[in-house]
Assembly symmetry: C2
Homo-oligomer: 367 residues x 2
């Protein structure tokens, strides 16, 4: 990665290194292919039609989204197979939108309770069979999803409501902690295996067993899953770096920033600079194990110790010269999915030169 | 506040209670007036022309923004006096935009170093005198700003560069901690007083002494400041609640959400619901002293223990019935400034009925 910020970029702004992006896309696609797994990348990470097109061209068999609104954007952009990996609570207006989606592409949605399966079926009415449902399993993240032994009851409710039960899915979100990815991948495999077996025994045709998560996607050497849904792998981010799920060379997305305030140690203060990228472009996710609010690709020892809306306070190692005022730096966000959702457009670079600008088409599509 | 979510709202969505908003605007304006202080509210909080108009109608003498892009939106919306309370690093393209702004409204900007004052003056050239500068003072937040004893050097560099030095400003951001607001207000007053005195002694006409922050704005009974720049007070948020800087009745902004997943205690799991408002609408600021990722106005004992992009995990008190699937709840974000920047439009309600929709005109204006 060329670390320079092209002169025409007004900071703060998101830059995407297209060669690194393509390498990340290719690596994940090859890994899936070599293991006989389908890749259904989660596009909430980038919300960008151009990147989804590259993922599909590299062999992804469909897309994953989080909301009906995201599905609408990617379907309008030409996607033919979309899974809304979310336990939707469907009312009449959602049903109308799902029906319209199903006219142009294959649609699957998540469900994790008898009540939501029933409500979904009722509102979809005679069209219920056009929507596939996957039952969400809790594999240890303890957010949404049912326990493997509860899957059959939900599937039966869905089938009774006229929905087409296609299989099971999980998101091992507890993989986002140091030391956890390997164990989380085991939990994921175990929960999916038990849930799929229970569903098969109950007479369901389990066509899809869907796992998730960038931290676990490359770990599952022998998995019961038929498809995986990693998202962050396209860009990498400071969380993946600190979890050792990617390297510095894999970082495709950075926020270009300018040093606006500079403080050599004085008056009891720490030696620091302030750059103009704050939580309104980096996002403010900061798990307790993270070393700060992001990382700097050129200065591995620097730490972002505080983040305001338009300021990142970067504490500098004593051994290195403090950057000058006006100097342009790049910052790797902790969580790229939040950063992409904060801008309308990204600048695409190759070898330090601007080659394109992409619209973040599904930004803000929260419902 | 009426706690119901109007039927036509598709969740998740931001709702603003207009009566509570107006009361908050009026209370701050009256408090400033009674103390002879000018009110220059920070509109990065709401980024909305309709709310700025209400603040100006209630007596605000001008607006505060964080970026040139925000200034452009509010100037185009009719604002006649704008302070960009940020230590801008000005290059040629910034200078062009500042010049254009100064044609339609009074513009002041922040500066906190000799180098940035010099660069700003050089790039503005003959127009430097049309822009007021305020020297930023560090009153204890240790982000940007110089120490009070360093103010004169920066002011002299600004004057030499042809800029019009109008005074000093500070942001006592260290007020955002339990037990800190009173002390931070004292630090703020002390730093502003010392900086303004030094500037006066050096022969500058100190027209503006500008303080900040919702937590300290109502505390400064005897202040050296001539104006204050609170922002969050219009809405209140979970941080202000937990800092005891506002009450439940002062909360004007909530995120309408739907229960999508529900879990009575089982299999070692905690009793919880998941609602469809995550970090992509609430924002993910979570200071270490906060009790969670937001609060629920109807259920004071519930706690948001985890936040994903589209899920908030809400742990429920044992003494209260767990909400039903599909039930609509309201969530108070930890930090409203981030929430507003995540949506294009907000729904305005009165007595539980929708009365208007406002465009978040300056959303995403990061530069």
């Amino acid at each position: 990665m060329n670390h320079s910020v092209p002169a025409e970029i007004v900071t703060p702004a998101i830059m995407i290194d297209i060669d690194v992006l393509d390498r990340n896309i290719e690596r994940m696609a090859s890994s899936m292919l070599s293991r006989g797994l389908k890749l259904r990348p989660h596009v909430k990470t980038h919300k960008t039609l151009e990147i989804a097109a590259r993922q599909l061209a590299a062999g992804a068999t469909g897309l994953t989204v989080a909301t009906i609104g995201e599905a609408e954007v990617f379907a309008a952009g030409g996607a033919s197979d979309i899974f809304i990996a979310y336990p939707l609570w469907v009312e009449a207006h959602h049903a109308d939108r799902l029906r319209k989606l199903a006219e142009t592409c294959a649609v699957a949605v998540g469900v994790d309770s008898v009540e939501s399966a029933t409500s979904m079926g009722q509102h979809l009415g005679v069209d219920a069979g056009t929507i596939d449902v996957l039952i969400e399993v809790d594999s240890g993240h303890h957010r949404s999803g049912v326990l493997p032994e509860e899957v059959v009851a939900v599937a039966q409710a869905a089938a009774s409501a006229g929905l087409s039960v296609a299989g099971v899915f999980t998101f091992p979100g507890h993989s986002y902690k140091p030391g956890m990815p390997t164990g989380a991948a085991r939990n994921e495999n175990d929960a999916l295996g038990r849930a799929a077996a229970a569903l098969s025994e109950a007479g369901f045709d389990v066509r899809t067993i869907s796992g998730g998560s960038t931290p676990t996607a490359l770990l599952a050497s022998e998995t019961v899953a038929t498809e995986l849904r990693p998202g962050v792998y396209v860009f990498g981010d400071a969380q993946q770096l600190e979890l050792e799920r990617c390297t510095w060379a894999d970082i495709a997305l950075t926020v270009a920033a300018t040093v606006v305030s500079r403080h050599e140690a004085a008056g009891g203060n720490v030696r620091r600079v302030v750059v103009d990228a704050g939580s309104k472009i980096l996002g403010s996710d900061r798990p307790d194990w993270a070393t700060g609010y992001g990382r700097l690709p050129e200065f591995h020892e620097a730490r972002i110790t505080a983040l305001s809306e338009h300021h990142a306070t970067v504490v500098w190692p004593d051994s290195e010269e403090l950057p000058k005022l006006g100097q342009r730096l790049r910052v790797i966000p902790n969580h790229v999915c939040l950063a992409m959702n904060l801008v309308d457009e990204v600048t695409v670079v190759r070898d330090g030169a601007v080659v394109d600008r992409w619209n973040v088409a599904a930004r803000g599509r929260n419902n």
